[in-house]
Symmetry: C2
Subunit: 103 residues, 2 copies
């Protein structure tokens, strides 16, 4: 059922995580995923509705490759979850602080 490659938590890099979170769109996606707690489809998590599908897809790819989210495919939708435990294990306190500081 898993259709995407996700890095092991040991492979998460600080530069990769910061670069991924440095984009307001992606930070917004991460916040929404955290708020929802569970899985969420890409469209459900889209920061703004007028963004091109391909752009949104690209943001999810970057978040995946940075190790911030895990994506599985079920039916026609993709289910994305925030990898909170992995992120916190690798970079304790970082995610929480950035989300707190974000406008």
């Amino acid at each position: 059922m898993v259709q995407f490659v996700h890095p092991a938590k040991e492979d998460l890099t600080l530069a990769g995580v910061l670069a991924a979170l440095a984009d307001p769109m992606r930070l917004d996606i991460v916040r929404r995923l955290k708020d929802k707690g569970a899985c969420a489809s890409c469209t459900d998590t889209a920061p703004c509705p007028k963004m091109a599908k391909s752009t949104l897809s690209n943001h999810f790819r970057i978040l995946r490759e940075a190790g911030l989210i895990r994506t599985t495919k079920k039916g026609v939708e993709h289910q994305n979850t925030l990898r909170e435990e992995d992120i916190n294990a690798r970079f304790p306190g970082l995610l929480k602080l950035i989300l707190k500081l974000a406008p």
Copy 2:
């Protein structure tokens, strides 16, 4: 004596700061500036010696525009200081945590 424009601390953005720190070279520069405590020239702070001067100069420009450093010119050298107080006032705890988590 001041030759560069620096944003007011209120103008620092989280996205800008994260993007600036997301580059390993720039994060290294910031760490060196913090370690030195006081001013430091660009060459003194260069992460790796084989990098092109223009590249180094560009990194300093990005750090300046993000509001992370202040640059003044004195004689033939540029003096760069980390804007710790401004950064901490705007984003409490962020700089310290990122530097702590960096490899």
